[in-house]
């Protein structure tokens, strides 16, 4: 069969369109570099994140300490990379969970309506009025000592509600569109309609939401860590580093600017990927015609 013979499915068309976007591919490459740097950094430098250099306190970047040292003699490069390990996972995983939950809950509530809608909207409103910060701090001791991945779940659990409400609203209008009627009248089950027609048609919203969530989750982790929940010393995250050293941004800037710079780079990479995904999903977006 020739290539024109087999019609292309959406998945391959979106992949093809995504691969055509240089910036987005750059974003992916950059993200991979960040991952590699974060996890391979112990091999790159002699200093570990929990290791003190008692000979150099608050030294600016040098060949020995690439990003300088802190007041206690910690190596800022080692700290930043260790922090990025945590933040990458918190940000990416948390954003995926939060946006995914928002999409599923919002779309099901909106599409099926009735009792399911009442229950899900009730849940959304309940979580919206509960002070998330307080709940996490109350629950934290229970998870103490266990994997900090639970912490990611907790953070995401208080992040999705507003998006879910937006998704529900958009679903209510999308489900009256004729192509959804058409799918229904050909017998496509409701859950398939949601994943096949409704969610792809709000892909732009979901992608933007996920990219915003990445940075927002990384930063909200700072607040919790500050109060002693979440990532605990001597372990670090980008958030705790930025929180700890923001005071010295003007006096000993390397302590602040390196973690902050990596956070910005990380968010930038995510944004580039998000933009690329959005354009790949959106047939109206520019770019060479397929």
């Amino acid at each position: 069969m020739s290539a024109a013979d087999a019609s292309v499915s959406r998945a391959s068309l979106v992949t093809r369109r995504f691969l055509r976007q240089r910036l987005a591919l750059g974003g992916i490459a950059f993200l991979l570099v960040l991952f590699a740097a974060a996890y391979l950094s112990p091999l790159l430098t002699t200093w570990q994140y929990d290791q003190l250099d008692t000979t150099s306190f608050l030294t600016p970047p040098s060949s020995n300490h690439w990003f300088g040292t802190t007041q206690n003699g910690f190596d800022v490069f080692a700290l930043t990379m260790r922090g990025m390990q945590k933040s990458l996972v918190i940000g990416l995983l948390g954003a995926l969970i939060s946006t995914g939950l928002a999409a599923v809950v919002g779309a099901f509530a909106g599409y099926f309506g009735g009792r399911l809608n009442t229950i899900l909207v009730g849940l959304i409103d309940l979580l919206l009025v509960l002070p998330g910060f307080l709940i996490i701090s109350i629950l934290s001791p229970a998870f103490h000592g266990r994997t900090w991945l639970i912490f990611v779940l907790l953070l995401a659990a208080f992040q999705w509600m507003i998006t879910a409400r937006i998704v529900r609203g958009m679903t209510l209008s999308l489900k009256e569109r004729e192509f959804v009627h058409a799918a229904r009248f050909m017998g496509v089950p409701g859950s398939r309609i949601i994943f096949r027609h409704i969610l792809p048609n709000m892909a732009s919203l979901l992608i933007i939401d996920a990219t915003v969530n990445v940075s927002s989750l990384i930063l909200s982790e700072v607040g919790l860590s500050f109060f002693g929940f979440g990532v605990q010393p001597p372990d670090v995250s980008l958030g705790t580093l930025i929180g700890d050293y923001s005071g010295s941004a003007l006096s000993f800037p390397w302590q602040f600017y390196f973690p902050a710079g990596f956070l910005i780079a990380l968010v930038l990479a995510i944004n580039l990927i998000g933009d690329g995904l959005r354009d790949a999903f959106d047939p109206n977006a520019g770019g060479p015609a397929s």
Partner: protein, 690 residues
């Protein structure tokens, strides 16, 4: 005083250009025309032909990035390049405008009285009280009942037709010399359209104003205009007296438009000749005649040099290198456009011998009416469909017609849902929808598929066409390789290319998208297609192609159609039987020729008399039955015969004893019509109106 013989409006070389990313869009290209005092000039064209843009340019109402050049002389005064302040003195006073959508043309937060008064006081130094009195006078003139009370109403309290009347009242408030009416009846139902066109005529008589009527509907032009201009790709391609243009067109495009238009006074034997292809994009127009790629008379010269508008006789002019050839062929009775291959009539057994594909009995669809406030209790119900009964037999097309709000869409949605109805029954291929198990219902869906009105909204914009057409197959368990083969087969069946499967819907034109929708509906080889206004969103020249396709498919695949439409001409052309709905009930049903030629119900008669026919002589000699008022609210339908409050027969033709009868409910049964021709009128009487 200006010379009375001088034209009121003279447009010369009017060109409008918009900047766009793809390059300059030349929306209007050297337009020249004139409007004399008191005459009606109709400008017809399809969407994108530049008819609206050029009329907005007259009064400089275009967005600021539009570049306008050329000359517009109004009462001897040049308007192009005039300051906005000076133009404002003319707008609404000497030149008035009526827009297409009467809802968005009125400000929702002011009463209509205030808005009319504002139109008066902007240009005249009169007191608020005097302006209000004049507003009431104007509302009386345009036929708003109870004007002294309605003057204090807000636009949302009016129906679409009433709002358009208010717009007309505002337009004639200052006795303008020219009224520009941009598609004034497009958003309205056909009986309301008749009322509004009648009112426009009246407004012209009262004010002596000339009317520039912009529309896509040749039937409307035939009835009301003195002269007509046909636009294509931003240019006037033919102008002349209405009779000349309609009976002796000299431009193939005009001829094509007229030939592709189904006529309500001619049945299925009328062969529609579609114009192949699509209107050109106004960016980077190629040299030569813009119609050349679609023109059957094309010669080399046509692709090299764009023809000018050349005067033929009197006011008749056409922009075509080959108008003499068009003329010759018309005189010789030859076709210019290749005649569509006639669909062979299928030899069919008599109707009663064929099995019913769909039977609907006393179907009721109710919507709950909820109270405002937090609790939203159910306070009543709206019966959108109230006891509808019809059958569709194998190989038959039933046209379901009616105006908006009559319940035709609710009826088909209820049928397509295949859920147990509130009352009555829906039987698809002998299976009762009320007793189906979910598995059975899933299987029945194979046999009943739907094509929607809006070809853009009906296709998921995020799916490639191959996935769209393949979706029903996938849902019903067809394996991927077979699916791909079938998708190609379906694309070919509806006249598209197999490689179109890899594209997204937005890369297609309206007509092509509708073909994709039809291909999807045919994927499962259904027995019955429900067509919900399948051609009403398409341009005239495209429409004929889709209608012909539907007719061919019906003959080839032995389909039955439930064809829902408000356009009676299309129904006349495509349907075997027709059912007329009014306020949730069928008022008349029967064979299409029978119902169109000998309608017995007064509503059908009014409806048919309101349909414009693209034939100026016939149109001028017709007498319209104008209905009073609007559709009553379905929340509180009149007791007895629902048509009674608006019925001309009830009002004029019958005595009191007969009127008593009308207060009683009326069943759909055979009365004055022939066999199989049922109506719901106590005083059923045939009266030809077409």
């Amino acid at each position: 005083m200006t010379d009375p013989a001088a034209p009121l409006l003279e447009v010369r070389d009017l060109t409008v250009t918009f900047a766009s990313e793809a390059g300059p869009v030349r929306a209007a290209r050297s337009l020249s025309y004139r409007v004399n005092r008191g005459e009606v000039l109709g400008i017809v064209g399809e969407s994108g032909s530049g008819k609206t843009v050029s009329s907005l340019a007259l009064m400089d109402l275009l967005p600021s990035h539009a570049r306008v050049s050329g000359s517009v002389q109004f009462e001897g005064r040049e308007l192009v390049g005039l300051e906005d302040r000076e133009l404002s003195l003319l707008r609404g006073k000497r030149i008035a405008m009526i827009f297409q959508d009467p809802l968005s043309a009125l400000t929702p937060v002011y009463t209509v009285g205030d808005q009319i008064a504002e139109a008066i006081r902007v240009h005249n130094d009169v007191s608020a009280a005097a302006a209000r009195d004049r507003a009431i006078e104007l509302l009386t003139l345009v036929g708003i009942p109870n004007p002294s009370r309605r003057v204090a109403s807000f636009p949302h309290e009016f129906s679409g037709g009433m709002r358009q009347r208010v717009m007309i009242a505002m337009a004639i408030a200052n006795d303008p010399a020219l009224i520009i009416a941009d598609e004034p009846t497009t958003a309205l139902d056909v009986t309301v359209q008749a009322q509004i066109l009648d009112l426009l005529q009246k407004a012209r008589e009262v004010t002596g104003a000339a009317i520039l009527l912009i529309t896509h509907d040749l039937g409307v032009v035939a009835g009301i205009a003195d002269r007509v201009g046909v636009m294509y790709a931003g240019k006037l391609v033919e102008t002349g007296m209405v009779d000349d243009v309609f009976y002796k067109p000299r431009m193939p495009y005009t001829l094509g438009l007229l030939g592709s238009l189904p006529r309500p006074d001619q049945g299925a034997h009328q062969a529609l000749t579609p114009i192949e292809g699509n209107p050109p994009s106004l960016v980077n127009l190629p040299a030569g005649c813009p119609f050349a790629p679609r023109c059957p008379l094309r010669i080399d010269k046509c692709t090299q040099q764009e023809p000018d508008l050349v005067q033929h006789t009197g006011a008749h002019a056409a922009a075509c290198h080959r108008s003499d050839e068009v003329e010759r062929r018309r005189a010789a009775g030859e076709n210019v456009f290749p005649a569509a291959s006639a669909v062979e009539a299928v030899a069919r057994s008599t109707r009663s011998e064929r099995a019913p594909v769909l039977s609907v009995r006393d179907l009721v669809k109710e919507f709950p009416v909820l109270s405002g406030g937090v609790l939203r209790r159910r306070v009543g119900s709206l019966r959108a469909v109230d006891g509808v009964t019809f059958d569709i037999r194998e190989g038959e097309t039933l046209g379901l017609v009616g105006e908006s709000g009559c319940g035709k869409t609710s009826t088909i949605m209820e049928i397509l849902n295949l859920a147990p109805p509130r009352a009555g029954s829906v039987m698809v291929l002998g299976q009762d929808a009320a007793t189906l198990t979910p598995q059975q219902r899933f299987r029945v869906r194979r046999d009943i598929q739907v094509v929607f009105q809006d070809p853009m909204a009906a296709l998921d914009p995020r799916l490639p066409v191959g996935d769209i057409i393949g979706e029903p197959l996938e849902t019903h368990g067809v394996a991927a390789p077979e699916r791909a083969r079938r998708v190609r087969e379906l694309l070919a069946l509806v006249g598209l290319q197999p490689e179109h499967a890899d594209r997204y819907p937005q890369t297609f034109s309206g007509g092509q998208r509708q073909r994709i929708g039809i291909a999807r509906a045919l994927a499962l080889e259904p027995k019955l297609l429900v067509l919900d206004e399948p051609v009403s969103a398409l341009d005239v020249s495209i429409r004929a192609g889709v209608i012909n396709l539907l007719e061919r498919l019906k003959a080839e695949l032995g389909l039955s159609y439930l064809f829902v439409a408000h356009d009676l001409a299309v129904v006349r052309h495509i349907a075997d039987r027709v059912a007329v709905m009014y306020l949730g009930r069928i008022v008349e049903i029967g064979d299409v020729a029978e119902v169109f030629e000998r309608p017995t119900h007064p509503y059908t008669q009014a409806l048919l008399s309101a349909v414009p026919i693209p034939d100026p002589r016939k149109e001028r000699s017709r007498k319209r039955i104008l209905l009073q008022g609007d559709l009553p609210s379905p929340l509180d339908p009149p007791a007895g015969c629902r048509f009674r409050p608006r019925c001309p027969r009830f009002a004029n033709e019958i005595d009191d004893a007969g009127r008593q009868l009308c207060h009683k409910d009326v069943a759909l049964e055979a009365r004055a019509g022939g066999a199989g021709h049922l109506d719901a009128c106590h005083h059923s009487r045939p009266a030809p109106v077409l």
